[in-house]
Amino acid sequence: MSTLDLIGIGKSYGATEVLRSIDISLASGEFLVLLGASGCGKSTLLNVIAGLLSPTTGEIRIDGKRVNEVHPKDRDVAMVFQSYALYPNLSVRRNIGFGLEMRGVPRARRDEAVARVARMLQIDGLLDRKPAELSGGQRQRVAIGRALVREPKIFLFDEPLSNLDAKLRMEMRAEIKHLHRLLATTVVYVTHDQIEAMTLATRIAVMNNGAIEQIGSPEDIYRRPATVFVASFVGAPPMNLIEATWDGRGLHLDGSGQTLALPAPDAAPRPVTLGVRPEDLRLADPADELAIAATVDFAELTGPDRIVFSRLAGVPILASLPPHSHVTADEQVRLTFSKRDMHLFDRGSGKRIDIPLRPVA
């Protein structure tokens, strides 16, 4: 149970900046997910927290104390590697107990701790095997067990589920969530999978190009994305993004001649991006004013939804409609949404623009 503060963390390799002024403050027991595309610096940040890499700038504090100069083994963190990094020549028992063995915990206490963790992870029957004799899911559990057994201040997970198949991934996700509820240890968890991020996190930090785009609760990230990047990265199918020009008369959708009756507070035209999630779109009634007219390409039934692929002046628009909705190819549809569910971003900075829900007087 520990707090973690990252203050202005930067990391460069020569001229390449891999991390840029990362600021994160975690309360004790939080579950932070670092979410971002491959290569955006997630593992680098995790390794900086673990002490496997030194940051070029900035400070790392655990429980309020600066640990920049502290060796990984003395930071009291445990890490689950993406590759698992099990010790292939040691038995599962010794793999899990290795951290305790190295810290000089007596044999009897060690075996007891290993047995307890193994029972919790349901691998108690496998303790005498070598990692090569385990399935992917079992190796994954051993890797987690190795971290759990030490009862560290902070758990670090680097894409621990990315090598598993879909079903196992879902099971392990539930298990990790359960373990966190049980142990209430502070967790930093790296993934590029937004479902993992949404389901596990108490807070998500969306990373892009070495910087944090937005940090907030899963709800916040999904409902109020701070930038176009976050909006497009989180959500599947992804948010529709339509370029538009906003002025005192309304929101003019570029290239289509359509205007939405949403006058801007300022009269001066402003280039913006309109964002609407597919699931926030409905087929419009004639009475609906806030609607986009688009041409249907085709529709796919996914089971619970019918995904309609359409186009507005060449820009693809996806709508996730109820399965019984009836649309045909080449048909013109009017898709409507509630003002509450739309997002506007400044096209220059990519930053969110807060829309007044009532038209300005």
Partner: protein, 281 residues
């Protein structure tokens, strides 16, 4: 099992047989020579198959009476075993840490290229400086001195071999061990060296064979039974006024035995694939 055509099978077995013959024929001929009578060996045309097996030369060469061929060969065998063993152990002691460092840090890789580059020099080029060095240290005609010379030949080779052996061991294992609180020596002793055991065994075997077979420096830097190795001793047998081919062949067979025994011994460690199970699902 895949279906193979008859022609393919014939080709496969023929190739294997050809290889076996190429490898074994000289050794078989060596052995046959060692048990052929001198008359058989010098008759024209050559008698390829001895009329009668003659084992007497083995008795001659294992006879330990001073100042005989036997005593000379046996002390040379002992010298060879010791020199090769010292050189091999020293080469491993030097090149295990070096190979590991080379594998883990890209910054020093150029130095390996440089060292391998020295292999391009003909041994003669180094003979004079090495001779003067050994003389200055009073190590000429000593087993230790020769072992030191061999070390300079073996260490770059074993370091290179071990580097390639350490390369496939995932770096993450070391990082995980560091987080688990292992010191560097513990990481190496408990995890990395056992994982590299097959390659270390291979390196030891090759180093031993290289040292065992070395002739040029042994001829230059040793002068009597205190340090002469088996390759030089065999050459001595051939150097007399009348060369007894059968005797030389017998010495060759005896000299081949220790490396073969060592090879069989090391075979047990040469099991690869020990790193499976560390990674992936």
């Amino acid at each position: 099992m895949e279906q193979r055509s008859l022609g393919f099978s014939v080709f496969l077995y023929a190739s294997a047989l050809l290889l076996a013959v190429l490898i074994l024929a000289p050794f078989a001929w060596l052995f046959i020579m060692s048990i052929s009578s001198t008359t058989d060996l010098i008759s024209k045309p050559l008698r390829w198959w001895p009329a009668q097996a003659d084992w007497s030369r083995y008795r001659v060469l294992t006879d330990l009476t001073p100042n005989t061929h036997g005593a000379a060969l046996m002390s040379a065998l002992k010298n060879s075993v010791l020199v090769a063993a010292i050189a091999t152990l020293a080469a491993l002691a030097v090149s295990v840490p070096t190979g590991w460092a080379l594998s883990r840090s890209r910054a020093v890789n150029w130095s390996l290229g440089l060292v391998i580059g020295t292999y391009m020099l003909p041994p003669v080029a180094l003979a004079v400086p090495l001779y003067m060095g050994l003389a200055a240290l009073d190590l000429l005609n000593t087993r230790f001195g020769l072992a030191v010379v061999y070390l300079t030949i073996l260490a770059p080779f074993t370091a290179w071999l071990l580097k390639s052996g350490f390369d496939p061991i995932p770096r993450d294992i070391e990082l995980a061990a560091a987080i688990d609180g292992a010191r560097l020596d513990q990481t190496l002793r408990i995890l990395i060296l056992p994982l590299a055991a097959p390659v270390i065994g291979t390196a030891a075997l090759f180093a031993y064979l290289l040292a065992w077979d070395e002739f040029f420096y042994a001829l230059l830097f040793t002068s009597d039974q205190r340090a002469k190795t088996v390759t030089v001793a065999i050459a001595d047998l051939a150097g007399g006024r009348v060369a007894d081919y059968g005797l030389i062949a017998t010495a060759g067979v005896i000299a081949a035995l220790p490396p073969v025994l060592f090879g069989l011994l090391m075979q047990r460690t040469l099991i690869s694939g020990l790193t499976t199970g560390s990674v992936k699902g």
